[in-house]
């Protein structure tokens, strides 16, 4: 089991405390391709932040790859993020003054991998994603789809337990969105990568094998979705 969440609660303290996650229970097995769906304000971003060890929770239990994630020091949290999680963001979040290959290398730099080895592995991943020719280009010189593929290469390079994708197609046009989802799907099918996608677009969710609906801080419905063509959103790769 990659993710085990039991009775998770999270409240944002403030003038008016906001109870965003109200007892979440969720298990995700190795090799699953899951989407978490919900409207804005449903708590899905908070859940994603907790899954990504970017935020703490108040009560309950969260295990990532069997390790209890609770009350970690910044240093430990950084290490876990580095080794276990690959992030794919909506706005790519590449570092603008670094070339594609340098961006991909970065997680390995923080692992202390040597320069040559880093470069070799980063080139390898860029090559797999068909971006070898763009290795020395800066993000500003690439299209959205290319940038997202660089970001995916960066997420993959540490061979994480889990890929967390936050609205991965949010900034892409429909054609590129289809390509990116296709890529994630292939990663899941061919390499058995566990992928969790957070989205509010049902077309995107429809590409995944399990859809977790979250509403008002509780999980409403978990549906299995093995027939990706059943839904009209998936037809012809039209997601938007």
């Amino acid at each position: 089991m990659v993710i085990h969440i039991k009775d998770l609660n999270k409240t944002y303290q403030g003038a008016q405390p906001l109870h965003v996650l109200k007892g979440i229970n969720l298990d995700i097995e190795r090799g699953e391709f899951v989407s978490i769906m919900g409207a804005s304000g449903s708590g899905k971003s908070t859940l994603l932040n907790i899954l990504g060890i970017l935020d703490n929770y108040d009560t309950g239990e969260y295990r990532l790859g069997g390790e209890l994630i609770w009350n970690l020091s910044e240093r430990r949290a950084a290490e876990y993020r580095n080794r276990m999680i690959g992030f794919v963001f909506q706005s790519f979040n590449l570092i603008s003054f670094k070339t594609a290959v340098e961006n991909v290398e970065l997680p390995l730099y923080y692992q202390g991998v040597g320069r040559r080895e880093r470069r070799r592995r980063a080139m390898d991943y860029l090559d797999r994603l068909g971006l070898a020719a763009w290795a020395t280009h800066y993000p500003g010189e690439m299209s959205g789809g290319q940038r997202q593929r660089v970001a995916i290469a960066r997420a993959l390079i540490t061979r994480p337990e889990l890929i967390l994708a936050d609205e991965p197609t949010g900034a892409l046009d429909s054609k590129t969105s289809v390509e990116v989802m296709q890529l994630l799907k292939e990663l899941n099918e061919q390499q058995g990568m566990t992928i969790v996608v957070v989205t509010h677009e049902s077309g995107v969710a429809n590409e995944t094998n399990r859809i977790v609906h979250i509403r008002d801080g509780v999980i409403g419905l978990i549906e299995d979705n093995h027939d990706h063509h059943a839904s009209p959103f998936g037809a012809g790769g039209l997601m938007k």
Binding site: L54, R75, A78, E79, N82, P107, Y110
Partner: protein, 419 residues
């Protein structure tokens, strides 16, 4: 390490103007520091050179004029030092005083050799110890010695200038005779003049000069070396004691400071060293304060940079950067920037010092009476450069500290919020 430098290079390149302006303020700070210290050293060296002309542990006593009445005698009496005073110096203060000598000057003498002559020269009757006390450099022949004194020989040590004037065709003057006020003196040595008053002296045995010109056992000025006066207190005590004894020889009040004048070179040196120390400290303070404004500039710029790069630090942290690696990145960036530009400033400062050395360092102020160099070697040593480098690294760390802490505290979720 190489990666860090690549990153720093990347950020510096992205903000050329900002980097240049920050760099300038640091470079200027270090430049001022080095330049000021160099100029200060020039002054200090010049002073040192002039104090170095005399033996540090030596003292000269001059006869003065009484300033207060004592034992029935009025004030305003002229005092001339006599043989009795030399005896007092030698015997009463034997524990401290080393060699005792005296200088009896007989001025207004015209020197001549054949058809060549020089007016307005001074016959200076000295003891052999004068050579050590006034650091006279003999370039040819010898100085006055004990046998000259004992036998009251009419021998003379002349200056290079005098030798040139009297024997313009060259050749060694040693062994030749020079005529002074009708008396013939045999030249036994030539000393190096300093272009100052000293060059018009003709050194002769004190005993001879006194026998010819002195009346009433006057000896001129007494000069002596001393030993074992290490502190200011000891020097002051000795001076007071010595003055009291000499004053009594002349029935002057023991505490009359004007009856006998004392010139203590050792005290001169102590005071000089103190003054130089203060000057040096003052220059460091001014230089460091100038540098401080540069450091504040760097810190300020770094704060802005960190703010601009919040998102980047968020990304870095999300993909596994520990707070320490962010902290280190910013501090090293700050140190590299300060040191690099500081080094440029240092080189400019050294260049300016060398330029100063080559121009005003060579010029002498000619007052007519004497020549003096205002600046001698106005440069800084390797030690100051190393100190300045340490200062730069320290300053860079200080400048980077606050921004770095801020950067390390960036929370990835805040930074990654879509905006």
């Amino acid at each position: 390490m190489r990666d860090i430098f690549t990153e720093i290079w990347a950020t510096a390149r992205r903000n050329k103007l900002r980097t240049a302006l920050t760099g300038f303020s640091v470079a200027w700070g270090i430049f001022m520091l080095i330049f000021l210290l160099g100029a200060g050293n020039g002054l200090i060296n010049a002073q040192m050179q002039s104090t170095d002309r005399y033996l540090a542990s030596s003292m000269v006593a001059f006869g003065g004029r009484t300033s207060k009445p004592y034992s029935g005698l009025g004030s305003g009496r002229g005092i001339s030092l006599r043989e009795q005073d030399m005896a007092t110096t030698d015997s009463v203060f034997a524990g401290v005083v080393g060699d005792v000598g005296a200088v009896y000057d007989h001025g207004g003498v015209t020197l001549s050799a054949g058809a060549n002559y020089m007016a307005g020269q001074t016959l200076s009757g000295v003891y052999p110890v004068d050579r050590d006390i006034n650091k006279t450099e003999v370039v040819e022949g010898r100085f006055i010695n004990d046998i000259d004194m004992r036998e009251r020989r009419k021998v003379a040590v002349i200056s290079e200038d005098q030798a040139r004037e009297l024997w313009p065709h060259g050749g060694s003057p040693v062994g030749k005779y020079v005529k002074a006020d009708g008396l013939m003196w045999r030249v036994v040595g030539v000393y190096r003049g300093d272009g100052m008053m000293k060059a018009s002296d003709v050194y002769c045995p004190h005993a001879t000069v006194c026998a010819i010109y002195s009346t009433d056992s006057r000896v001129g000025n007494i000069e002596f070396t001393f030993d074992g006066l290490e502190t200011e207190q000891q020097n002051n005590d000795f001076e007071a004691d010595y003055r009291a004894k000499l004053n009594l020889n002349h029935s002057a009040a023991p505490d009359d400071d004007n009856a006998v004048w004392l010139w203590n070179r050792f005290m001169d040196n102590i005071q000089m060293a103190r003054g130089m120390g203060i000057l040096r400290t003052a220059l460091w303070v001014v230089g460091l304060l100038t540098l401080l404004s540069g450091v504040v500039g760097v810190s300020n710029i770094m704060l802005i940079t960190v703010r601009e790069r919040t998102r980047e630090f968020g990304i870095r942290k999300a993909i596994g950067a520990r707070p320490w690696s962010i902290l280190r990145l910013i501090i090293i960036e700050s140190v590299v920037m300060t040191t690099l530009f500081g080094y440029v400033g240092m080189l400019c400062g050294i260049a300016a010092n060398e330029y100063m050395n080559a121009t005003i360092g060579r010029t002498e102020v000619d007052t007519g009476l004497f020549k003096a160099t205002m600046f001698v070697n106005p440069t800084v040593g390797v030690d100051v450069c190393i100190e300045a480098t340490l200062v730069m690294v320290l300053a860079g760390t200080l400048a980077g500290l606050v921004p770095a802490r801020r950067a390390a505290r960036v929370r990835p979720i805040e930074a990654l919020k879509e905006n």
